[in-house]
Symmetry: C2
Subunit: 83 residues, 2 copies
């Protein structure tokens, strides 16, 4: 059993108005030292698999089919721990 985290974020070329709004709000709070705000989602889940490789393969398949919109978003799979 593996605990997996998948990060999903917009591709570099995609504009993210929500991130710009948050950037503006942070700066208006008085934090001009903060820049380059980017936003993404993460998905944590457990995968029952016999090897790390199998767990990663399952997570990549799910990410590609369901968690990320691969037209606009990219994803990254990470093993958090082996349970």
């Amino acid at each position: 059993m593996f605990k997996i985290r998948v990060y999903v974020g917009y591709k570099e070329s995609v504009l993210d108005p929500q991130a710009e709004v948050i950037q503006g709000a942070i700066n208006r709070l008085g934090h001009g030292e903060v820049s380059d705000v980017k936003i993404g989602k993460f998905f944590d889940f457990k995968v029952s698999a016999t090897s790390k490789e199998d767990a990663i393969q399952i997570a990549e398949k799910i990410s590609d089919q369901l968690l990320a919109n691969v037209n606009m978003e990219s994803f990254k799979v990470e093993i958090l721990e082996e349970l």
Copy 2:
């Protein structure tokens, strides 16, 4: 300058229907080996600060005031790299 990542997720006691929907969709895709789906957001940004401690303090203040709804969500600040 530090590159910071803030993770924001629901507290354990808060129900997350979106996570349940995704869990169901994953299982219907044929992946019964996946369980305990949790969803969160992450915010990446750069902080211009003279020390790690200052950068973390700024990030924690922003998270508390703006990025997380501390009634329902908890957050975790991580330094990704020193630039």
